[in-house]
C-alpha cells in the first residue's frame, strides 16, 4: 500500500473501514438514493405533481392494489398451512415426524415460478391436464379450474412460501419450555385453554415474524403473477414495472414511472419491517429454558393415519406432481400432444444443453454469476462484518444499516437502482452486460453474507487473537491461522446462502438481461412467453436438477465438516 502517501496517519484500520463504507455506498446506497431522486426530482427540482400524476393513473393504483391483495392472501394462507404442519410435526405423535419435518422443507427447493409454470400446465382452463381429465371423467362442458387469476396466484405462491412460517414455528415450539404448559395442566386447564392462553401467545412472535417475511416476499414477487396473472390482466407492481420498461423501448419516462412504483414498494416494505420490529419487541417472552422435560405429544388417536395421509398427499400434490409435470412436458415433442410414450423424446434436453446458444448461455450465465456473486459477496461480507464485530468503529451503525438495507428492498427496486447507477451516468456503463446483474446480486445478497459472517465472527473470542499475538504472531498470521479457520463455517454458509438463491433468481435479472445475458430464470420465463413451452419445461427440469445437486452438495460439505471437527 505504498501508493498511499499518508500511510502512517491512515492505518490499516481506517483503510478497511473506509473501504467497507465505500463498497456499501457504491453498491447499495447510491442505487437506492437514485431511485428516490429519480422518482421525486425532475431536472433538479422537487416535483410532486408528476408523482401524483403517475400514482393516480388507473394501472398504477391497480398494480398497488393487486400487490396488496396477493400479498395479503398469500400471507394468510401460507401462515395457516405453516402453523398447522409445524404443530403436526412437533407437538403430536404423528408417525415419521422427523422425516415429515424434512420433507416439508422440500417446497423451498422448487422455485415458485417453475411451480407456476407447472400449475399452468395442469390447471389452465381448457388444456390443463387435470381439467382435461376431470372434463373427460365427468363429461363436463366447462373446465373445473381456472388457474389464471387471483386465486391461482395466491395458492401457488402459498404452496412454495409456507416453509418460512413452518421453520420459525417449528423452532419456537421446540424451544418452548414445556413446564409452562405442564403447570397450566396441573392447575386444571383443558387443552383448548392451554393452547389459547399459553401455546399461541408463546409462539405468536415466531408466527408473525414468518408471516411478515412472506408478506415482504410476496409483495415484490415477479414470477408467479407474471406467469399466471398477466394473461388475465392482473398486474402487480413488479410485473407492471417490467411491462413499462420493456414496452416503451426503455425510455427514461418508463424508468421514471418505474421508480415511482418502486418507491411505493420500498414504503410498503418499510411499513412491514416496522410492524415486525414492534411485534418482536412486544412479544419477547423467555421461552427457552433448560430442556428438562419433553413436551407431551398430543395423541392423535384415530386421526393419526388420516393426518399422515393428508400430509403425504399434500406433498405429493404440491411438490411431486408439479415436478413430474415439468419433466414430462419437457420431454414432449411439441406442446399439446398427450403424455404418451410415443410423443416423448429426449431431443429437447439434448437441444437446450448442447445446441441452442440461448439456453446454453443461460445455464452458463446463471452458474457463473451465482458463483462469482457468492464469492465476492462472501469476501466483502467477511471484511465488513470484521469491521462491525471486531473493530467496532464509531459509525458502525451506518455499515449495519447499509448492509441490511437491501434485505428489505425488493429485487425489482435493486434492479432499477443499478440501471440508474450503472448505465453511464458515473462513467461506467454496464447495461446489457452480465456485470450489471453481478452488481445487482452483490447488493441483493449482501445482507445474507453480513448476517452469517457476523454471527460466526461474534463467536470468535478476542482473547484467542490476543493469545496468538502474545505468542508473537503478526496480525496477518493471527487472522490467517486463528480468525479465518474459526469463521470459516460462517463464510461457507454465506457462500451457499447466496449461491443457491442467485442460481434461480428471476425478479432482478428479468429487468437487467440483455440478448446475451439471460439467466436460467429469465430464459425459462421468456421461452414460456414466446410459446416455446416444451423448451421452457425442459430447461426448468435442468434447473431443478442443478438445484437438487447443489443442495446435496451443501449437505455433503457441511456433514464432512461436522465429522472433521
Amino acid at each position: 500500500m505504498s501508493f498511499l502517501p499518508d500511510m502512517r496517519k491512515w492505518g490499516a484500520a481506517e483503510i478497511v473501514l473506509a473501504l467497507s463504507i465505500l463498497i456499501l455506498v457504491v453498491v447499495v446506497a447510491v442505487p437506492v438514493a437514485l431511485i428516490f431522486i429519480t422518482a421525486f426530482f425532475v431536472d433538479g427540482a422537487f416535483n410532486l405533481a408528476d408523482v401524483t400524476a403517475i400514482l393516480t393513473q388507473r394501472d398504477t393504483y391497480e398494480a398497488l392494489k393487486n400487490s396488496i391483495i396477493i400479498a395479503f392472501g398469500v400471507t394468510v394462507i401460507s401462515t395457516i398451512i405453516g402453523v398447522f404442519f409445524a404443530w403436526l410435526v412437533s407437538r403430536t405423535d404423528l408417525p415419521f415426524k422427523g422425516t415429515m419435518k424434512v420433507l416439508f422443507l422440500l417446497p423451498f427447493m422448487l422455485p415458485s415460478f417453475i411451480g407456476a409454470l407447472a400449475w399452468k400446465m395442469l390447471l389452465s382452463p381448457r388444456s390443463g391436464y387435470i381439467n382435461k381429465m376431470l372434463m373427460g371423467l365427468f363429461d363436463l362442458q366447462d373446465p373445473v379450474f381456472d388457474i389464471y387469476g387471483y386465486w391461482g396466484i395466491i395458492l401457488v405462491e402459498s404452496m412454495y412460501l409456507f416453509p418460512f412460517v413452518f421453520i420459525q414455528v417449528c423452532g419456537a415450539l421446540e424451544r418452548m419450555d414445556p413446564t409452562l404448559e405442564e403447570s397450566a395442566r396441573i392447575a386444571g386447564a383443558g387443552l383448548t385453554t392451554i393452547t389459547r392462553k399459553i401455546t399461541i401467545p408463546l409462539i405468536m412472535p415466531s408466527i408473525l415474524a414468518g408471516a411478515l417475511l412472506i408478506a415482504l416476499y410476496s409483495l415484490a414477487h415477479f414470477g408467479v403473477p407474471a406467469i399466471l396473472g398477466t394473461e388475465a390482466g392482473i398486474y402487480n407492481i413488479p410485473t407492471k414495472i417490467y411491462e413499462k420498461i420493456h414496452q416503451s423501448a426503455g425510455s427514461f419516462k418508463a424508468i421514471r414511472a418505474g421508480t415511482v412504483l418502486a418507491s411505493l414498494l420500498v414504503v410498503s416494505a418499510a411499513i412491514i419491517l416496522y410492524v415486525q420490529s414492534l411485534v418482536l419487541k412486544s412479544g419477547r417472552f423467555q421461552i427457552i429454558a433448560g430442556k428438562s422435560v419433553r413436551p407431551v405429544a398430543l395423541k392423535l388417536r384415530g386421526f393419526k393415519i388420516p393426518l399422515l395421509i393428508f400430509s403425504a398427499v399434500y406433498l405429493l400434490v404440491t411438490v411431486i406432481l408439479p415436478t413430474v409435470t415439468i419433466f414430462l412436458v419437457g420431454s414432449l415433442k411439441t406442446y399439446g400432444l398427450s403424455l404418451d410414450w410415443a410423443n416423448m423424446t429426449l431431443e429437447n434436453y439434448e437441444y437446450i444443453l448442447f445446441t441452442w446458444r440461448l439456453t446454453r448461455d443461460a445455464i452458463f450465465n446463471s452458474v457463473y454469476l451465482a458463483l462469482s456473486a457468492a464469492f465476492v459477496t462472501m469476501l466483502a461480507g467477511v471484511m465488513i462484518s470484521y469491521v462491525i464485530v471486531k473493530m467496532k468503529p464509531r459509525g458502525k451503525w451506518l455499515l449495519e444499516f447499509l448492509g441490511v438495507l437491501p434485505f428489505s428492498l425488493p429485487g425489482t427496486v435493486i434492479a432499477l437502482g443499478v440501471i440508474l447507477t450503472w448505465s453511464g451516468r458515473f462513467g461506467v456503463n454496464l447495461y446489457n452486460t452480465a456485470w450489471i446483474i453481478f452488481v445487482a446480486y452483490i447488493a441483493r445478497y449482501m445482507a445474507f453474507s453480513l448476517k452469517s459472517n457476523s454471527a460466526a465472527l461474534e463467536q470468535v473470542h478476542d482473547s484467542l487473537v490476543e493469545a496468538s499475538r502474545a505468542c508473537g504472531a503478526t496480525q496477518w498470521q493471527a487472522m490467517r491461522h486463528v480468525v479465518i479457520p474459526l469463521a470459516r463455517p460462517g463464510m461457507v454458509a454465506a457462500f451457499f446462502l447466496i449461491f443457491l438463491p442467485a442460481l434461480r433468481e428471476l425478479t432482478t435479472s428479468v429487468l437487467l438481461y440483455g440478448p446475451t445475458t439471460r439467466t436460467i430464470g429469465v430464459a425459462i420465463y421468456t421461452l414460456n412467453e414466446d410459446g416455446e413451452t416444451v423448451y421452457a419445461a425442459a430447461l426448468a427440469s435442468i434447473a431443478l436438477v442443478i438445484i437438487v445437486l447443489g443442495q446435496i452438495g451443501i449437505k455433503k460439505l457441511t456433514q464432512a465438516r461436522a465429522e472433521g471437527v
Partner: protein, 334 residues
C-alpha cells in the same frame, strides 16, 4: 492494525475492479450480431447455411420479440453504441423511425431487384427479406369446421377461445392489428371481444396455446404454426381472402464494424439460396423464382401481395402507442 488486515480488502478490491474493468465480450473480427424477431427454427437454418458459405464470418443471432429488441436498441443508443450489426424484425414502422433518426446504413443489395413486397424503401435503408403471412391457426381436434373468413370468428363456436398475441410484445401482432383496423375498423375487435376473444403474450405463445387446446384458434404466424405441425401438433392454418402479409425488413446498423460481412449477409438472405431456406421453414419467400415446398399450404408470394390488406406504414409510427393502448383497452374490457 497494519499490513495484515489490508490483505483481505486489497484482494477484494482487485476482484471488484478486475471484474468491472473486463469488457463484456471481446469483439471478434468478422463477427455479425443480428437482432431478430425470427424464431430459432428459421434464423438457425440461415445462420448454419451462411456459416458454411462464409466460414470466416461468425453469425450470432439473438431472437426476441420486436418490442424487446427495440427496448434494447434504445438502451444501447442511450449509452452510445450498438451491439447489433443487423436488424431483422417484422415491425416495419420501427425501420422508418430508425431510418429517420439516421440509425441505419444505406445499402441496396444487387439481389433487391428481384423481390416482390407491399412495402419497399425507395432510399434503400432497409429491404424486405421475407413475407410473413399470418392466417387463422386452429386446433384440428377441437375445430372440425375451420374458419374461412375473418368474420367467422364472431361465431359462438369460437366463444372465449380465440386469441391474438400482445401487440406491445410482438411486431407481427402489432402490424396485424393495424392492418385489420385499417381494413375492418375498430368495430372488428369490439365484435371479437364480445365473443370472448383473448389477448395472449408472444406470437408463439398463442400458437402453443392453440396447439394445447387452451384456445381453439388464433392469428398464427405461418412458420411458427408449421414448425409445430411438423412436430406433430394438431394444428391447421387457413388464409382468409383478405390476407395479412407482413414484410420483414432487414437493415444494416450504421457504424457497424463489419460492413462488408453485413452486406454479404443481406445479399445471402435475399439470394435464391437464402429464400429457398426461408420457404422451407414454412414462411413466404420474397422472390417469385423460389419454389414453395409441396403441401406447405402457403399462398404464392405474388398472389399473397395481391390479396394483402393495405396500410400506410409511415402513419402507423405516430399512431403506434395509441393503437396499442386502444387495442389493449378493448381486449381487457376496460
Amino acid at each position: 492494525m497494519n499490513k495484515g488486515l489490508t490483505a483481505v480488502p486489497c484482494a477484494l478490491l482487485l476482484c471488484l475492479f478486475l471484474g468491472l474493468a473486463l469488457p463484456a465480450q471481446a469483439e471478434v473480427k468478422g463477427k455479425l450480431v443480428i437482432y431478430t424477431s425470427m424464431k430459432e427454427s428459421l434464423i438457425g437454418k440461415l445462420r448454419d447455411a451462411f456459416a458454411k458459405k462464409y466460414p470466416g464470418v461468425v453469425v450470432d443471432p439473438y431472437s426476441a420479440g420486436a418490442g424487446k429488441i427495440m427496448a434494447k436498441i434504445a438502451a444501447e443508443r442511450e449509452s452510445g453504441g450498438s451491439v447489433a450489426d443487423l436488424l431483422w424484425t417484422s415491425e416495419i414502422p420501427d425501420f422508418y423511425q430508425l431510418k429517420d433518426q439516421g440509425f441505419l446504413e444505406k445499402y441496396v443489395s444487387p439481389e433487391a431487384a428481384s423481390i416482390v413486397s407491399p412495402v419497399k424503401d425507395p432510399d434503400g435503408y432497409f429491404t424486405p427479406a421475407r413475407l410473413g403471412t399470418l392466417g387463422l391457426a386452429y386446433n384440428t381436434k377441437l375445430v372440425k369446421d375451420p374458419p374461412k373468413t375473418w368474420q367467422d370468428l364472431f361465431d359462438p363456436r369460437f366463444k372465449n377461445a380465440f386469441g391474438i398475441a400482445n401487440p406491445a410484445l410482438s411486431g407481427t401482432a402489432f402490424v396485424s392489428v393495424s392492418l385489420l383496423v385499417n381494413t375492418f375498423g375498430w368495430d372488428y375487435f369490439v365484435h371479437l371481444k364480445a365473443n370472448g376473444a383473448k389477448m395472449g403474450q408472444g406470437s408463439g405463445q398463442v400458437v402453443d396455446d392453440t396447439a394445447s387446446g387452451d384456445l381453439k384458434a388464433c392469428i398464427g404466424v405461418d412458420y411458427i404454426t408449421s414448425e409445430k405441425m411438423g412436430k406433430g401438433a394438431t394444428l391447421g392454418l387457413f388464409f382468409p381472402q383478405e390476407m395479412l402479409v407482413i414484410p420483414s425488413p432487414v437493415a444494416i446498423i450504421k457504424g457497424t464494424k463489419n460492413l462488408e460481412a453485413a452486406k454479404l449477409f443481406v445479399d445471402f438472405l435475399l439470394s435464391r439460396e437464402g429464400q429457398t431456406l426461408i420457404a422451407s421453414s414454412g414462411t413466404l419467400p420474397i422472390r417469385t423464382d423460389v419454389e414453395l415446398p409441396a403441401g406447405s399450404g402457403l399462398v404464392p408470394p405474388k398472389e399473397a401481395v395481391e390479396r394483402a390488406m393495405q396500410l400506410d406504414y409511415q402513419k402507423t409510427i405516430v399512431e403506434k402507442e395509441a393503437t396499442i393502448a386502444k387495442f389493449t383497452e378493448i381486449m381487457r374490457g376496460k
